[in-house]
């Protein structure tokens, strides 16, 4: 049923509920606007878009006026033009004409509007002026000049209605109205998380990116679209560059995963790309130092050393670490290099340290180990259960959708986490389990669901198997027993269980708080059990949704940078599959699954592994029990590190190869939602750096296994040919939206959610899982429980983010988070320097006394080399997935005396 109306004499049609502005735009009729922003709710504040609908007493704002049948709209008659000019003149009467040095010059919507309306400065009745209010320059990221603010309200809407951060708001009223942060304090003290959404939507220069000041006029900047290199959300970036430097970054408003949003890292954390510390030339070890070398010399040296080790110690003495930071194409080529050229399956990457249990557990339960649903589907969930994911800091843009689900759609958020993380503020129920007791907690929830009869019997009977055995185990986990193990009051447990059981569409979200345990795989399986029990798999806005940490950890796994599977999770010990790859790659392939990361370190330590090729990883900071890692790497005969910086691992290398950053190469990343997205080269690599895929190809060729590709697109074509889940992916099809795997052929549209009709493995498999305590628990000597993780401003080992001025200014040092009760018992005050010891090592850092940490536990981020948390962590492994137990170990904390 469409509506017919007349706009400027033209008969046009629109749908009921559309606004006049929307219908006009759809018909190519331009109406000037100012406060209107396509991503924000219409507010009708500026009154620039007024139109005449024949009412004597008023004009109407077209951005908020719904169309109606027979409406006669004039968008530009004299009355309308006069009103618009007066409105803009009024805005200008409270705004300085400082365009000369305004950062927004050339992209200022007020400037454009004044120009469009033909406003001559000397004809203005009221002179533009500065009101003389304080410029807030307190934040390293955002500068706020209230005198440039025209009170369009976009920033406030972005902060409150899109991000739900609730930092920006108005103070006072009428002409004195001013946008403030917090209660009017400086931005830096207001709780602002520097996501910069406000900057992005600001039509004038009132809110601007501080680091970009004077770095380039808008018209001098070149805009290119690419995918963010930080976490697994895969936000689409619009990057503005000038002379081979990134000047500004904006979230692409048509970005399919981020819809314009970014986090502080994604918006401000790029100065490392042009850091003087970037590796610009190959380096070969000479004594204690390095010597610059040509590519030819360095690669020949590597090739001959690898060949020599292979000849001397056999194929199994070599291994490679691929990288979750590199592109799909590069990971594909890397594992192909290890398998086809080095001749074994010794390839792994840091997914081992984050989501190996996810893959192991979900493959057991469902048959495939990835997020079952899509990121955006979260907004449609009735209930979101988040456990072991500090989403607001680690996947800020996904947290945006969670908050929207709660605020806009009334979804119930349940958080199960030992730490009082940011999401707790939005949660209806918070379960604060003791670290490492997740299986007991999840079994407890399922016990109550069964007791109350809230399970989805039809789903269980038709789509799942092994329910009875599972049921018998779960029935032992009564709320009382679970309270004893987890510390979660049985009433809270019951309340949460009932909410989950009654929800129509429940999403289960987890991350490393679930996986990084010796029971990691059991934890994941338990989440899968819960989802199957309540029938929340295979439908929109439900599912088991592990959030992947790195930009391309999903892709690195998908493309076979794992010791047991080829690309597409095809088992290396499957004869048929192996022969497919043998044929495709033209060499015989090893039957034996290879070594995992931690096993590689052990093998090096024991002298079985002699040569290691590391691409873009930094085990010297990321792996558990660093003292052990350091000895292992030192024990190697030959270590090659290919990176963008001289990382802690590269320092130990024999040859260091300078690689191109994400900004300097083409390729694809696969985000946590299984979406394959394009990475576009923004400018040439620094110095002599080369893209990782080029380096791998040259090295392989020198080792006698020729690899020659014109471009990453050609690599993708080869990948698609051997990887069924990527079978239909090609650069031609990716466009701006990418494709979600499985995408099996050229006509397959991609898959929004998995297991719709049947599970990948056929039937969903219930597993009976018993609670096992962590490998190391606090005792008299080491009385506190240590948990590790990330903070908002930093990423992984800090190689990139710690070289960002903004991010380092926001968070420049390691802080040991400790509960006020423990702190006072230890005589530690906020800001005191403390020493943290475990059975494996010790570090020193400042204490942050906070309720965020549970009593009896401390939290240390692992980004900081000078206080590396992984000197303390325990390398005890999950028996199935071989992930180390980063999330629980025992430590002692004491105040240092200096």
């Amino acid at each position: 049923m469409s509506v017919e109306l007349t706009i400027d004499g033209r008969k046009v049609r629109g749908d009921p509920g559309q606004t006049v502005l929307e219908v006009a735009e759809a018909n190519g009729i331009h109406i000037p606007t100012l406060c209107h922003h396509p991503l924000l709710p219409a507010s009708g504040a500026c009154r620039v878009c007024v139109v005449d609908i024949g009412r004597k007493d008023r004009l109407e704002a077209s951005c908020t006026l719904p169309i109606s049948d027979g409406m006669n709209v004039e968008t530009g008659n004299e009355r309308v033009r006069e009103a618009r000019r007066t409105v803009v003149e009024l805005i200008l009467s409270a705004h300085p004409a400082d365009c000369m040095t305004c950062e927004q010059n050339g992209r200022c919507e007020l400037q454009d509007l004044a120009y469009e309306l033909g406003i001559e400065m000397e004809e203005l009745t009221f002179e533009p002026k500065r009101l003389g209010r304080r410029v807030d320059d307190s934040s390293p990221a955002i500068t706020y000049d209230p005198d440039l603010c025209i009170l369009c309200g976009r920033c406030v809407a972005a902060c409150n209605e899109i991000r739900n951060h609730g930092i920006l708001n108005y103070r006072d009223r009428g002409y004195d109205t001013v946008v403030i942060a917090g209660l009017g304090e400086f931005i830096v003290d207001s709780g602002c998380v520097s996501c910069g959404e406000c900057v992005q939507v600001c039509p004038t220069g009132a809110l601007s990116e501080k680091p970009s000041r004077f770095k380039g006029r808008w018209w001098e900047l070149e805009k290119k679209t690419t995918t963010c290199p930080f976490c697994g959300v895969g936000c689409t970036l619009e990057v503005y560059t000038k002379d081979g430097e990134i000047v500004k970054v904006r979230g692409a408003e048509d970005g399919v995963e981020n819809m314009g949003s970014l986090c502080v890292k994604g918006r401000f954390g790029y100065d490392w790309v042009n850091s003087p510390e970037r590796l610009t030339t190959p380096l070969i070890r000479r004594g204690d130092g390095f010597e610059a070398a040509t590519w030819d010399k360095a690669l020949s040296h590597v090739a001959s050393k690898f060949k020599e080790i292979r000849e001397k110690h056999g194929e199994d003495a070599l291994a490679g670490l691929a990288s979750a930071k590199c592109t799909n194409e590069e990971n594909y080529l890397f594992q192909k290099f290890v398998r086809a050229c080095l001749g074994n399956n010794n390839v792994d990457h840091c997914a081992r340290l984050c989501h190996a249990p996810t893959v192991a557990g979900l493959v057991k339960a469902f048959g495939s180990g990835a997020m079952t649903n899509s990121i955006l589907e979260l907004t449609g969930s009735d209930l979101i259960f988040v456990t072991g994911s500090n989403t607001t800091e680690n996947h800020p843009v996904i947290a945006k959708y969670m908050r929207q689900a709660v605020v806009d759609h009334g979804a119930t958020l349940i958080v199960a986490d030992p730490r009082k993380i940011g999401l707790v503020d939005h949660a209806e129920i918070w379960l604060r389990q003791r670290g490492g007791t997740d299986v007991a907690l999840l079994n407890g929830l399922m016990n109550v669901i069964l007791r109350e009869g809230l399970q989805d019997t039809e789903f269980i009977e038709e789509r799942c198997e092994n329910f009875q055995e599972f049921r018998e185990t779960v029935e032992k986990y009564t709320p009382e027993r679970v309270e004893e193990i987890t510390g979660v009051p049985s009433r809270d447990l019951e309340e949460a269980a009932v909410a989950i059981g009654e929800a129509d569409r429940a999403s289960f979200v987890f991350s490393m708080g679930i996986t990084q345990h010796t029971t990691g795989t059991d934890n994941v399986i338990s989440v899968a059990n819960l989802a199957m029990l309540t029938g929340n798999v295979g439908r929109e806005s439900t599912g088991v949704n592990p959030l992947r940490g790195q930009n391309n950890v999903q892709g690195a796994c998908d493309l076979g940078a794992l010791p047991n599977v080829y690309p597409g999770y095809q088992s290396v010990d499957d004869e048929q599959i192996r022969s497919k790859f043998t044929e495709a790659w033209g060499v015989d392939l090893s039957v034996e699954p290879g070594l995992t990361v931690v096993e590689m370190m052990d093998a090096a330590y024991e002298g079985r592994l002699k040569g290691l090729y590391v691409m873009g990883e930094n085990p010297m900071l990321s792996d558990p029990d660093l003292n052990h890692v350091e000895e292992a790497l030192g024990n190697l005969e030959f270590l090659v590190v290919q990176d963008i910086f001289m990382s802690e691992t590269a320092e130990l290398a024999d040859v260091v190869l300078p690689a191109a950053s994400f900004a300097e190469k083409d390729g694809t990343f696969t985000n946590t939602g299984r979406r394959v997205q394009r990475v576009n080269k923004l400018f040439e690599p620094v110095g002599e750096a080369k893209a990782d895929w080029e380096i791998i190809c040259e090295l392989a060729t020198r080792m006698g296994y020729p690899m020659r590709y014109e471009s990453p697109a050609e690599v993708m074509d080869e990948m698609a040919g051997v990887t069924p889940i990527y079978g239909g992916v090609s650069y031609d099809r990716l466009g701006r939206e990418g494709l979600q795997w499985p995408c099996t052929d050229a006509t397959h549209p991609g898959t929004r959610f998995l297991h719709a009709e049947r599970f990948t493995r056929g039937k969903g498999m219930f597993h009976a899982v018993e609670y096992r305590p962590p490998a190391e628990e606090p005792d008299d000597e080491y009385p506190l429980m240590l948990t590790t993780g990330r903070v908002l401003e930093h990423f992984h080992t800090g190689t990139m983010t710690r070289r960002s001025e903004v991010l380092d200014a926001l968070r420049g040092e390691c802080l040991v988070e400790i509960n006020p009760g423990d702190a006072s018992r230890l005589g530690v005050e906020d800001g005191d320097k403390v020493r943290v010891r475990s059975r494996r090592g010790l570090i020193e850092a400042k204490a942050r006394v906070t309720e965020k940490s549970a009593p009896g536990s401390v939290f240390i981020p692992f980004h900081f080399a000078e206080a590396a948390a992984n000197r303390l962590t325990n390398a005890a492994l999950d028996p199935f997935s071989k992930i180390p137990e980063y999330k629980v170990c025992a430590v002692a904390v004491e105040k240092t005396r200096d």
């Binding site: 009708g44 009154r47 006026l65 007066t86 409105v87 009024l90 309200g153 009223r173 009428g174």
Partner: protein, 622 residues
């Protein structure tokens, strides 16, 4: 169905009104009465009666609207018409009681009927024959000042809640809406939207939950009819709200009360509790199966909260800024649910319409504006107060007959109707009927019904400046034209009143006014320029005097005061010289003939000398 005489079972009228005594004393103790000193008067009455051993029921009643005569005390002997005394003071109580008890009513303000037996009765007018009352037709405020506002029984004895009982037990919601539509009731909050239509839209809107809101955020300076109404007869307002809720299908309601009017809030709160206790509010109203309950909420004190969408934002705990309509509250209101919002006075008319039928309501009023309306008369007028008259009554009748015209020695100049965003009308409009359309055609608005009368001592340019300063300060700041436009207009008006105006300022004011009226988001902006436009239209010569001649004809704008001169009455006492803070006055002349001389270039125009001179020998020079 045969209807009981009363909506609920209550004790006999006699016992409710008199208790176990034979005398009832009503003391007008609304906010206005209290401000005039009714509190101590009330205590003293109780005290004096006790001293004399008189068993009496002394009742704290609302206001009958005659603010000019406060504090008012009415004595009612069982079976006798009431006798009303005005301007009663604490000290005067004893004498009045003494006299009244002895059967002497001479000096009383009015009586409600003649007995033929009381002393001095013949000289006391009947209340209904007083000029202030005789032109009034009372409906909404008929019980104000008569019944105890904190007694549901007294309201019921006046026929209260019969309309509601009839609605919920005998009528469908559609029939209720039809009845209100037939009556022709239009919103009394200012816009005059047909109430029945508003209810119908809300009724028809899809929603699992609906709300009914009473807008009691009366904020106009000079308007107090809502306060008077709800303080004096809160149950009537509540009854109207419950009927509205039944009509639209709401099960939850709010009364949003201006925080500066705490007595109104507490009276409504009491009414809600009493109604709940009687099963009139809450589950299963009158056993009809209809359920509804009400929350009383205090506003945060911004004028714009009276705008319905801002009001809803305030209830939701958000910053009270208006949002665009449509969607109207009827389809998307409080928390996104269909919501009906009616003004206090609108709701106060509803019980009568349901109880007496639509014809009774619509038999007075004008063609398109039916029924009565309460107007608040303030300013330079003899009798200030609230008067309820049929819509369509002329300004002249209201100002001159009811209000008694200008004060002695002054002349009528203008009347500002509709509050700070209404228009300023001149003597030529005295015969304009007070109804929605007529006022609009003259460039003003009905608004809440405030009537501010100004005389020759008021400068209309300064008046416009004053009202603009109010709306400028009360603009929420959301939309550009209202936020910045009003500020610029205020600045220009300030300039003009300081003698710094330019001729082109008038054109600028008109241009800004047009854009502000045309483009503002809500009714605040869409009416705020009215005082400026109407004063320019009707008092142009006064603007020109300020701009061209640097003169304020009314002698108000002190910056245009040229100075002071000393007349021949000066006795040379030197008081002015001592008092002048600027040292602008010196004494000259000889010992026996001293005289003050004012140096106007030093003078700050403070006027202290004029006040100080014991001989009125200093005059302003304009």
């Amino acid at each position: 169905m045969e209807m009981n005489e009363y909506a609920i079972e209550v004790p006999s009228e006699d016992s409710v009104l008199f208790g176990d005594g034979d005398l009832r004393v009503n003391v007008g103790m609304s906010t206005c009465g209290l401000a005039a000193g009714a509190g101590p008067v009330y205590s003293e009455i109780k005290n004096q009666l006790a001293l004399r051993g008189v068993k009496a029921k002394v009742v704290n009643v609302g206001c009958i609207g005659a603010c000019y005569a406060e504090p008012l005390v009415e004595f009612i002997a069982r079976g006798q018409p009431g006798v009303i005394f005005s301007g009663v003071t604490e000290g005067g109580v004893e004498e009045i009681i003494e006299r009244y008890l002895s059967g002497d009513v001479s000096g009383a303000f009015a009586v409600r009927g003649k007995t033929g037996s009381l002393k001095g009765e013949e000289d006391v007018p009947l209340l209904d024959e007083l000029d202030f009352f005789k032109h009034q037709t009372r409906d909404a405020i008929e019980n104000c000042g008569v019944i105890d506002p904190e007694s549901i029984e007294e309201y019921v004895l006046k026929g209260g809640y019969l309309g509601l009982r009839r609605a919920v037990t005998e009528m469908t919601p559609e029939q209720v809406i039809e009845t209100v539509s037939e009556a022709g009731l239009r919103g009394r909050g200012g816009a005059g939207f047909p109430t029945g239509l508003k209810w119908r839209f809300t009724r028809q809107a899809q929603g699992d939950k609906k709300y009914a809101i009473c807008n009691a955020d009366e904020g106009d300076p000079g308007a107090f009819m809502n306060r008077l109404n709800a303080e004096g007869d809160p149950h009537r307002v509540l009854e109207g709200l419950i009927i509205a809720a039944y009509a639209v299908g709401a099960d939850e309601g709010y009364v949003f009360v201006r925080a500066e009017k705490p007595l109104m809030a507490s009276r409504l709160e009491t009414a809600v509790k009493q109604a709940r206790a009687y099963g009139i509010l809450g589950d299963d109203v009158f056993g009809s199966g209809f359920s509804f309950d009400v929350n009383i909420m205090l506003s945060a004190g911004a004028f714009v909260c009276g705008e319905e969408t801002a009001l809803m934002a305030a209830i939701e705990g958000k910053r009270a800024t208006p949002r665009p309509r449509p969607p109207f509250p009827a389809t998307k209101g409080l928390w996104g649910k269909p919501t009906v919002i009616n003004n206090v006075e609108t709701l106060a008319h509803v019980p009568t319409i349901l109880r007496k039928g639509p014809e009774e309501f619509s038999k007075v009023g004008s063609e398109r504006s039916k029924g009565t309306k309460v107007f608040c008369l303030t300013g330079a007028i003899k009798r200030t107060g609230a008067a309820e008259v049929p819509l369509g009554t002329s300004i002249r009748r209201l100002v001159f007959e009811i209000g008694g015209g200008p004060l002695e020695g002054r002349t009528f100049k203008a009347v500002q109707t509709g509050g700070p965003s209404g228009g300023c009308l001149s003597a030529e409009h005295l015969d304009l009927p007070l109804d929605y359309e007529s006022l609009q055609s003259a460039g003003s608005i009905m608004g809440s019904g405030g009537i501010v009368v100004v005389d020759n001592t008021t400068c209309t340019v300064d008046l416009a400046r004053y009202f603009l300063s109010f709306t400028t300060a009360e603009s929420c700041g959301k939309c550009t034209p209202c936020r910045v436009g009003l500020k610029r207009m205020s600045e220009i008006l300030i300039r003009i009143t300081r003698g710094e105006g330019r001729l082109e300022d008038i054109g600028t004011l008109e241009r800004l006014s047009k854009t502000i009226l045309d483009t503002s988001l809500c009714a605040l902006g869409r009416s705020a320029p009215n005082p400026v436009l109407t004063t320019i239209k009707y008092f142009m010569e006064e603007y020109l005097a300020h701009i061209r001649d640097k003169r304020c004809p009314a002698g108000v704008c002190s910056a245009l005061l040229k100075g002071y001169k000393v007349t021949d009455d000066c006795m040379g006492c030197g008081v002015c010289e001592r008092e002048c803070p600027n040292g602008a006055i010196t004494m000259t002349g000889t010992e026996d003939r001293r005289r003050a001389v004012i140096n106007n270039s030093v003078c700050a125009r403070c006027g202290i000398c004029v006040e100080a001179c014991p001989f009125q020998a200093i005059e302003e020079v304009w």
